[in-house]
């Protein structure tokens, strides 16, 4: 580990923003646990009684209907009526909420966006604060090689984003486990843990990419407000407008590729028109489904992040520090 990287890791640890971002992520984790409360808690006696009453009512109604049905069937045996329909089982009348498996996979999946945004914000703030406080000049006197400065800051932001994400995921998992175990509900199957581990692994990759992109943007633009402006422009112009104006540009959006990476692939539809085989004078248009694979999604994300990082490094290397 280089001295510069050690110093950068020490600085990140000392920053208030780092702990603030982690605190916000833990609030999100608590939010996922709180929303699972209603799923996990045992049903109240009133709910059980209401479900039983609804079941009994349906059974009575069903018995009456079947009795009527049998009379009609006796009058006309060829009618084909089925008069042996059973009512739904009583257990289906009582809403039991999501299982632990469902709550866990939904919560870990839902953490992807908050984790990526947190890594991006923390990385941008980490670098722009240095330009804002003008501490970059004395830093460059101690670490004169700008490439080394870029590398150490980017590595530090990326490295710190991993434990931050893991702490958030662990807090969510621990919270949900405690909640479901506390209410005596069954916990996860082995299959779900495998799925969740894979999901978290993919989220960690996304978080690291977000941190690298954040430092790249910060080195290129130097001011947090400028970075925010570029991000807003990107969201409006590329993420929202491009797929509408130019649908073929959909696979270039971060949202599509991130979704593909996280979900193991995604699809989008393009309207494709051609001559109607039954009537050559007409054109036939139909929505054709296209797939973006997980690997393709990761490739595009990596290329975008590398471009941003290179741009940041190049600008920082060329521009004067005044």
């Amino acid at each position: 580990m280089t001295r510069a990287l050690r110093a950068e890791l020490r600085r990140i640890r000392l920053r208030t923003v780092t702990w603030l971002v982690l605190g916000l992520l833990l609030v999100v984790a608590v939010g996922f646990v709180v929303t699972a409360w209603d799923d996990a808690r045992p049903r109240t006696a009133a709910e059980v009684a209401a479900a039983h009453e609804a079941y009994e009512s349906d059974v009575r109604r069903m018995d009456e209907m079947m009795a009527t049905c049998r009379v009609m069937l006796a009058e006309s045996p060829d009618s084909g009526l089925d008069c042996d329909i059973e009512p739904a089982p009583e257990s289906s009348y009582l809403w039991t909420g999501r299982s632990f498996d469902e709550a866990l996979t939904e919560a870990t999946g839902g953490l992807a966006v908050p984790l990526a945004v947190a890594a991006l914000v923390a990385a941008v703030s980490f670098v722009t604060a240095e330009f804002g406080a003008r501490t970059i000049a004395p830093w460059l006197v101690v670490v004169p090689r700008r490439g080394r400065v870029v590398l150490s800051k980017t590595s530090a932001a990326a490295l710190v984003s991993v434990p931050g994400a893991l702490v958030t995921v662990l807090a969510t998992v621990a919270g949900l486990t405690a909640l479901y175990a506390g209410f005596g509900r069954p916990l996860a199957s082995g299959y779900v843990w495998t799925e969740v581990t894979g999901q978290v692994g993919r989220e960690i990759v996304l978080v690291v990419l977000a941190a690298v992109a954040g430092t790249g943007l910060a080195f290129a633009l130097r001011h947090a407000t400028a970075v925010l402006g570029v991000l807003v422009w990107w969201v409006v112009a590329i993420e929202v407008t491009l797929p509408v104006v130019l649908p073929r540009g959909t696979p270039l959006t971060v949202a599509t590729n991130a979704n593909a990476w996280l979900e193991g692939g995604t699809t989008y539809f393009l309207q494709e028109c051609g001559p109607d085989p039954e009537n050559a004078a007409l054109r036939l248009c139909q929505d054709v489904e296209h797939t973006v694979s997980a690997v393709q999604g990761l490739d595009v994300l990596v290329v975008l992040v590398v471009l941003v990082a290179l741009c940041g490094a190049l600008v920082f290397r060329q521009r004067d520090v005044v």
Binding site: R3, A4, R6, A7, R10, R11, L14, R15, T16, A129, A133, R134, T135, A137, P138, W139, L140, V141, V142, V143, P144, R145, D320, V321, V322
Partner: protein
């Protein structure tokens, strides 16, 4: 360090472009030679290009043209090797405002591979041991300057560059900085100090460079520079100012009245002035030989360039 100058520049030039693409020349063909060892004053009026020059020396700003050698290493190619032996404060002291003074130095120490004990030593050296754990944003300007000077000393540098180090310091602080600069120079280090406090600099500087509008106008030992400009000036207080003026002008000397005294330029000595007046029956209440100081030399030079 041998005969190699601590700082050497040749034909250094830097221009900035404004938003309207107007070109502003900050440094114009600067040839600077700072000898190794001693205190070297780097003087110039505001906007003369001092800070830009220091930034170019430290690799923070790229020159448009020219060469730089810092402690014998070419800049920017040999910046790593050069800056490992340099401690510098550029313009205002800037540190992370939410970290303590000690923690700010610790970060620099970790990056530079300096042991933590050195941080305590330099804090003690600048008198900040007791306030080291206070957040930097709560420091007074004087404390900030002290912390910046402490930062320059962390790596035990051969060359210390201080840009206006006495800004915001009280008289005791100014005295301490002066003593520190002298002590560093006496240890064989080179101190480059850019300052507006000419009287302070004069007391401690061995050599000086004066820049005006980005170009060097004078360079050399302070004593030599003052000697070159030591045409005799005598201030005289007499009752008969008109008569005295006429008598002195008849000898071919330049005389002007500054309201309280007559200021005589061009006389060989104060005694000649006195003799000339006495021979006409005019007796001086006061006769003072005006010695040039760095400030007057500086003002003369900057006026000459401006005119």
């Amino acid at each position: 360090m041998g005969d190699e100058p601590a700082i050497w520049t040749r034909g250094l030039r830097k221009t900035y472009r404004s938003f309207t693409m107007r070109e502003v020349v900050a440094v114009e063909g600067l040839d600077l030679c700072v000898p190794a060892g001693g205190v070297h004053a780097f003087l110039g009026p505001n906007g003369a290009g001092k800070t830009t020059t220091i930034r170019m020396l430290l690799g923070l700003v790229s020159p448009d043209a020219g060469e730089i050698r810092l402690l014998g290493h070419p800049v920017p190619r040999g910046l790593d090797a050069a800056l490992a032996r340099v401690g510098a404060v550029v313009e205002q002291p800037t540190f992370y405002p939410h970290f303590s003074g000690r923690e700010n130095l610790m970060l620099l120490a970790v990056a530079a591979g300096v042991p933590a004990t050195r941080v305590d030593a330099v804090l003690d050296q600048v008198g900040l041991t007791e306030r080291g754990r206070q957040r930097f944003r709560k420091y007074s300007l004087g404390m900030r300057q002290r912390l910046a000077i402490a930062a320059t000393l962390l790596c035990d540098p051969d060359l210390v560059i201080l840009d206006e180090p006495t800004n915001g310091l009280d008289p005791a602080g100014i005295h301490d900085v002066r003593e520190l600069m002298r002590a560093l120079a006496d240890q064989g280090r080179t101190v480059l100090v850019s300052s507006h406090a000419l009287a302070e600099v004069e007391q401690v500087a061995d050599t000086v460079s004066i820049v005006v509008r980005g170009a060097l106008v004078a360079e050399g030992r302070v004593s030599d520079l003052l000697g070159e400009r030591s045409g005799t000036t005598v201030r005289v207080r007499v009752d008969e100012t008109d008569d005295a003026t006429a008598v002195l002008r008849r000898t071919g000397w330049t005389v002007r009245d500054d309201a309280t005294h007559l200021v005589v330029d061009g006389a060989p000595s104060a005694a000649d002035v006195n003799r000339s007046l006495a021979s006409s029956g005019i007796y001086a209440h006061e006769l003072t030989l005006v010695r040039p100081d760095l400030e007057s030399v500086f003002l003369d030079l900057t006026r000459e360039v401006a005119s």
